[in-house]
Symmetry: C2
Subunit: 395 residues, 2 copies
Amino acid sequence: LQYLEKFSFTGNIYSVQEGEIVFPNEPVLRVEADIIEAQIIETLLLNILNFQSLIATKASRMRQVAGDKLLIDFGLRRAQGLGGIHASKAAIIGGFDSTSNLYSAMLFDLNASGTLAHAFIQSYDQQVDAFRAFAALYPEKTILLVDTYDTLSLGVPDAIQVAKEMEERGHRLFGIRLDSGDFSYLSKMARKMLDNEELQYVNIFVSNQLDEYIIKSLLEQKAPIDGFGVGTSLVTGKEDGALDGVYKLAMFNDKPRLKISEDTVKILLPGIKNIIRYLDEEGMFYGDGIMLENESSIKEIYNPNNYLQSSRVESFLFEPIMFKVIGNGKMVIQNKMPKEIAVYCRQRLNSLPDEFKRLENPHLYKVGVSKNLYDLRSRLIQSYKGKERIEQRKR
Amino acid sequence: LQYLEKFSFTGNIYSVQEGEIVFPNEPVLRVEADIIEAQIIETLLLNILNFQSLIATKASRMRQVAGDKLLIDFGLRRAQGLGGIHASKAAIIGGFDSTSNLYSAMLFDLNASGTLAHAFIQSYDQQVDAFRAFAALYPEKTILLVDTYDTLSLGVPDAIQVAKEMEERGHRLFGIRLDSGDFSYLSKMARKMLDNEELQYVNIFVSNQLDEYIIKSLLEQKAPIDGFGVGTSLVTGKEDGALDGVYKLAMFNDKPRLKISEDTVKILLPGIKNIIRYLDEEGMFYGDGIMLENESSIKEIYNPNNYLQSSRVESFLFEPIMFKVIGNGKMVIQNKMPKEIAVYCRQRLNSLPDEFKRLENPHLYKVGVSKNLYDLRSRLIQSYKGKERIEQRKR
């Protein structure tokens, strides 16, 4: 595990592109290898894919509601142990602008940013002296934290005073940060106080237990907020702390393999599979089709759990979304940095219709299987039902 | 962060013992250092304490309801990235018996254990041959996974057959594992089938989206289950993926420091503090008192947010619970392994009355402050109120 993302492997790994949106029932990864190689990397791959997909998805939900406001990752202190390292990377992939996690910023070339801490302010006898010292140190990007004693009666007035002093030296205060209280009320009051002093250019940032729902609500209330610092719920995926991706044997010794289990949704799709994405006339995503490797184009996709539900797809445009990532132990695609993946991720999400992206009761994205794949699974299930009957007769 | 738990530090760190239960408002750590040293380790300490306390607590809740049944950590694949490494350690501290996370087992000397995988079974044409091969490899601790095709009609019968073959070789099948379906029903049926074949000694293990509530419910239904493999909810702390511990400046240049904030619960306790635990006549924990460092015994503890609520504690037995951990950059206590800490943790939890440990609506553990500490905070708040009034007159 120390060599996370540096494992060596002699088989082939196919994956949807990093940063690709993950849909239910979609095979995002296909591993072809000797069984022992495939098994050794199982936990590692699941850990990486499950966690980083979870956090990138959470970040993209916040980006979706935040529009072009600044989004900064403040999560490391509340992250799940060392999980914070890759949480910050995934946050950038999902659409965050920067992170206060310097270690991850160094590892993955992420934008680093932050503001001053309460402790810095508390260590001065007068808050305004702390603000002055900080502004002198970072004149270009000064953000002053204004809630240490009282936001409106002490914090914002001291920030205004320092902003005026900065103007005299030819600098501009970049922003103030609210870290407690009602952000809708406080941001409106602070905006008014700043504007009254001709400080329209000073940005207002907020931080404190934010998530996509609170960000959406604040912006709907027309709170004049320019950026959000998000911690806990971003880096832990709160309220959903895990993405339950699985890794299953589907082919061995040239024979498709089945797993049935007691829970219908845990029945796997046997055989080596490929996946194609269907697009509507405007190039928006319509649905995905999972088929056997030797199938190229199919006419209809079926609900994997109900043969009676199907959609004709033959007239749709389509594109392959599975690519070889590792071949014979070597990476065969270009290694991209998180910032580049973020651009790709954003482009792809733009092609996903809004009804799938809404926060409340989203429409379910269509993922279907080919008739051949459906029938193969049915045949395999039947052969086990046959074994059951034989077993039962024996006893 | 690569050097997590190996940081060097030249100040002093006081902590409640590792494995100690953490109560709201309790200072679990006191750092005395140059401000830059204290600040550099802030995020690291918060990350370690918040996450590992969260997971150890989650594990101890499961241990509490599981009695002496076996509890095995299966979480790494669903853990939050590298957070899984310390999650497994914390799970053992909280009362788990073993982990399937081999890397953490090696790092922290934890008991490692596991069962066979679905893929192993699927790679054989006949399930019974997979069971035979596994039993031949691990004759001492064979656990057979019985839900790959159908638990009761195929899985348990094949396990019984292999158990009988093992008996002929002088071995005993250690257990079967159910991984899907209704565990109450399936465990009762499987127990009956095993007992009918004189296999009373074969244990029944279950795994699949378990948590303390499901474990409690299964045992209340008298499901004959001998052990639980717990993954996601254990290693992510689901539904509470973060413990919101904070780290605040309380003293600087010999002056107690305050932070007020807009939210009452975020007002900190100023000054260097000590903490004492009060015990009732049976030695059970009654409550904790937070006081200034120079106070030794106090008569009464006060609700930190309401002076009108107080408890007399002068007649109680008490014990110190804050100890120096690091002095002048060196660890001054003996380094304990997780297994030892687990024993200590269990002992301590036994001294916490049941009403604080129940899962539904637990009684709140009493944490109060001394009058001197309460008054110090009030005086500091008043002095900032004074500043506010002066500011307001100026404008």
